[in-house]
Symmetry: C2
Amino acid sequence: MDIKVPTLLIDKEKCRKNIKKMFEKATKAKATLRPHFKTHHSAIVASWYRELGINQCTVSSVSMANYFAKHGWKDITIAFPYNPLESVEINALAGKIDLSILLESNESAIHARENLKNKVGYFIKIDVGTLRTGIDHKNEDLINNIISTLGKELDFRGFLAHAGHTYGAGTIENIQWIFDQAEKMLVPLRERFGGILSYGDTPSCSIIEDLSTYDELRPGNFVFYDWMQHEIGSCTVNEIAVCLASPVTAIHPERSEVVIYGGAVHLSKDSLSTKNGTCFGKVVELTANGWNTSLIGNVNRISQEHGIIKLSENFISDVKVGDIIGVIPVHSCLAADIQGHYLSTNGERIEKLSKT
Amino acid sequence: MDIKVPTLLIDKEKCRKNIKKMFEKATKAKATLRPHFKTHHSAIVASWYRELGINQCTVSSVSMANYFAKHGWKDITIAFPYNPLESVEINALAGKIDLSILLESNESAIHARENLKNKVGYFIKIDVGTLRTGIDHKNEDLINNIISTLGKELDFRGFLAHAGHTYGAGTIENIQWIFDQAEKMLVPLRERFGGILSYGDTPSCSIIEDLSTYDELRPGNFVFYDWMQHEIGSCTVNEIAVCLASPVTAIHPERSEVVIYGGAVHLSKDSLSTKNGTCFGKVVELTANGWNTSLIGNVNRISQEHGIIKLSENFISDVKVGDIIGVIPVHSCLAADIQGHYLSTNGERIEKLSKT
């Protein structure tokens, strides 16, 4: 591989395995897998889902929805609260594909009814404890209001929830507890109002054995996974499918540190607290067609373009300026978002949606 | 302004004032201002420096150097350790402009001598206590080695230092202490080996009164400033020249919170610890041609596309979904890096280098 600058490597076979495993789990649960594409923003990565017959996806912005629609995706949910400022763009896209949006207030429902003339589906967002967006499941008055505001103007699809608080849950038992609580909130809503239940987040979908409560599952991160997911218990090290190839540009044996070309503009500033301090990525050795899964160090400090890694004496004596080492990102969604493109471990350039 | 999605606003007049103030300070110190352009990556922003006759700049990557060279910058220092893997690109660019690189090991010096055939200048990077890159100032053997390795093959420019540890210094007294220490390390090197002393970092260049020790100053962030610089003491709130215009997409009065379309992919995950918890940005009200400088809240939590803001009762009762509010970034360099473009407060689109 002809790598000269920090480059996000993608192991296609690991991605395909991750997709297949999640697809089989969803199929066993009789749920539709509607993967979230905010993790990769790439029509090429998206095509690996289609190989299994997955034709529906989730995105988090209108521009992402337009990008995937242009690449043949005809059934898309924008899992972000309806942005009235983009109603023209949403309406235009709804004229071309089967589009669903998220609503959580009567004001937004009225705006959507007045401004979306093409057929649009909608989900009511329920907060299952993340305290980010969504309606309290007990607020049936508001749910009734939204449904009656929209009448037959928009197509009621059901209830959508994202248990983002699984990321900080700490233990698998806590993730199970969150899952059980969410079930208790959501199932009665389906019984009372109809529609489907759409549920998300990679930790729940990876860890919980039986997902059959839900009609639809929307995990995203699982295609790549990352070190945070490994710490949560969602994946093994071997299932992590992304790694930042990072040139070594300085070596400081006097403090057992190596400086890589690979910083916050390549990995993001997402970090984990460990007993050895803050970790911005796990260091591995690259191989001819990927990377070893033995961990040899942490990215301990990070600035805009630099990463600083503490290495054991064993390793540091072998490293030279101009070598390339691998860094498994703490959070692959953010590390992927800031790349212009990816490189597969067999040397193919993988294009993605770029910011303009 | 026709804003529909998170958009980084730039107040051109504030930028121009910031540039003028720093330029006058450098001129008074009889130092050349060689601003770091990693903060904005934009030929348009760069043109505002040129209005004052500033014709030299600093960048942190070869691609950035190529971009600015294409836009007429003929005197560029790449202030990042020489990356041997990019020697072909560096050599090609050195054939077109006056280019300087950074060296800190004899191995890199040998590689540069063997591979850079066009005239290239070099600085020796000195660590003044940041413990990121650079040689210990007492290591005169290594300095001698590098200079004699390169002989007349490359053009010795002097010593370069970046006191990045000012960012965490906590008080202005500590920044002064760091400055004084660096002076004691660097001045003897100039006396002994010749060349110029090039010094960087926005906190030092903003706060220290007398910069006349140095021949060249390389601050970058000062053109925009940000909340971190305000906390350090580098700028007033009114000098901060960037603000993320963020649509409100959900309101939760029951917990005094507003959810904006504006998350880690717009602001970065850089944060500050405050007595009220973590802060990912300071919230302000937008005006017809910019933003108010009274602060009305913090971005308290952040995920990929969402920011969550606690607002006082006063403000929350006035906010509606579809409103746009402003967020002053904690770290403008990272917030700027992840944009596709900027918007000036008078409505002009400002292009920048995009990642491909």
